[in-house]
Amino acid sequence: MKNQFNLKRFWQTLFRELAFNKTNILIMLASLTFLNLLLNYITQRPYLSKANWLNADISVIALIYCMVIISSSFAELNTADRKIDFLMLPSSILEKYLVKFIYTTVGLILLSYVALSLAAVIVELYRYLFPGAGLFKSMLHSYSNFKFDRYLQNYFSLHSIFFFGAIYFKKLELGKTFIAAIGIFAALNIYLSLISLLPFFENVNTPLEILNIPLQINVNAVLSIQSMRKIAAVNNNVREIVFIIMLYVLPVFLWALSFIRLQENEVADGV
């Protein structure tokens, strides 16, 4: 692990990343600003004003958009010529990893914030120049109410998943990560729900094994209201645990796993 980090090399690698992506950054900024304006315009339409799903927090757009970008952040590992360029670059794998990490966290968060600000400025300018036109509603309210801490929490959780997917999958990274994540969380949910139910079954009749947990369930067992309340309480606890895992444990775990996977990529056959 010697010579893994050198600040000068790190800046050079970061400069390379930004220089390669400068056009993409401008395109992202323009399209994200446009998406913010579009959502504002759509939700302003009278016939859509009651469609609650459209009144989602504006940060959701930025979040989805950023996940799409993150999914392709290691695209250069998926073609032979680009992979050689990436691997032969005289910087360590840790520096390369950190550059990608910073670009997809600090970089993209800043970018979404700038895009949101830009959309807000455009809307306010429009409303000032054409008062009463009613095309857009003011974004100042949502802008000032923007819960940055919550956005960051969600961002980092999702980032870790899609960042890992970007390194792990070689094709259709976004779709595969999405499907894998949904599958894993569904399985986890079922697993945890079953565990939370375990203490409340008293009459043991039917042996059953689900996900390697030996369950003894009496299918005819009648649960009392008290038991159901207990189940609800335990379920809430389980949800809280899952929530904590999702927000704090999972990102760190997946980021570490991503780094290990990136190191493994160096050894891949058929560069």
């Binding site: 050689i84 032969m88 360590s92």
Partner: protein
């Protein structure tokens, strides 16, 4: 110095391409790496550069394992693949991005090479044709001034004048500290440039000799009549006769056709080896 010792490598674990490969490459030389398709030329370059890891055995550069991929070692290696990736930026931007990674990068030389290869240095890389991109990459590789330069089919896509310029540039770039390994099928493009010649066949180094030694021990003659197979090493039909490769009995240096030598080594491997080994023993 590159030292490959007891190296085993295969893209599939049970199907080894290199089996117990041993090779020493010393600085101050331009090695020509020749071989048929699938002989393992590019794989060997990737193993030397650290892009591939040996299953067993080691490949070291000045005593340091290439598989370690230390950034300081990577700064001393320039690997130019047959098709190299060039980002959609201006040439000057490319220099700003990549040249700081190579401590001895010489911008003056780069522009000089670009001029000699007739490439304008003020455009976008994406506007360059395939051949021009190749020229640009060669200019950059040479200007990087790394100790080890690995070139995979560097003359593919170059026009005829550029091939000549390429030979001159490489010849003028070599120094006591530098080592070039050029993998190629275009042996005629490398005439009077590559020395020693390494020939790979089925993952094995079947020939590794200096040009002076080859010219001393082999003789090339052109004759009208078909030669007696027992008295020669190898022959080929040419326009109006036969190109014959035989043992150089009078010991005088003569100009050997590398293509003929390659065919002789691959076709009559044992005969050529026996000749060289016998001569060495003397």
């Amino acid at each position: 110095m590159i030292n490959i010792s007891n190296l085993n490598f295969g893209y599939k674990k049970k199907n080894l391409l290199f089996n117990n490969l041993n090779l020493v490459l010393t600085p101050g030389n331009i090695y020509g790496l020749l071989g048929k398709n699938g002989a393992g030329k590019t794989t060997l370059l990737k193993l030397i550069s650290g892009l591939l890891y040996p299953q067993t055995g080691v490949c070291t550069i000045d005593g340091e394992k290439t598989a370690g991929r230390d950034p300081d070692l990577l700064r001393e290696i320039f690997f130019l693949p047959e098709i190299s990736f060039l980002p959609p930026v201006k040439i000057k931007e490319y220099l700003e991005i990549y040249s700081p990674f190579y401590p001895r990068f010489d911008k003056k030389k780069f522009y000089e090479y670009m001029k000699k290869l007739e490439i304008k240095a003020n455009g976008k890389i994406t506007n360059l044709s395939y051949g021009q991109r190749k020229k640009f990459s060669i200019a950059f590789a040479l200007a990087a001034e790394t100790k080890l330069i690995l070139l995979d089919e560097p003359t593919n896509g170059l026009d005829i004048p550029a091939k000549s310029v390429f030979r001159k540039l490489v010849a003028s770039s070599i120094s006591e500290e530098k080592l070039f390994v050029i993998s190629t099928h275009q042996v005629r493009d490398m005439k009077h440039l590559i020395d020693p010649i390494i020939i790979l066949d089925n993952g094995e180094v079947i020939f590794n000799r200096q040009i002076s030694e080859i010219e001393q021990k082999l003789s090339l003659t052109l004759q009208r009549e078909e030669p007696d197979k027992d008295e020669i090493l190898y022959y080929e039909n040419t326009l109006g006769g036969y190109a014959v490769l035989s043992k150089n009995n009078d010991g005088e240096d003569n100009d050997i056709d590398t293509e003929l030598l390659f065919n002789a080594v691959v076709d009559k491997s044992e005969k050529v080896r026996a000749l060289f080994n016998a001569e060495v023993n003397i």
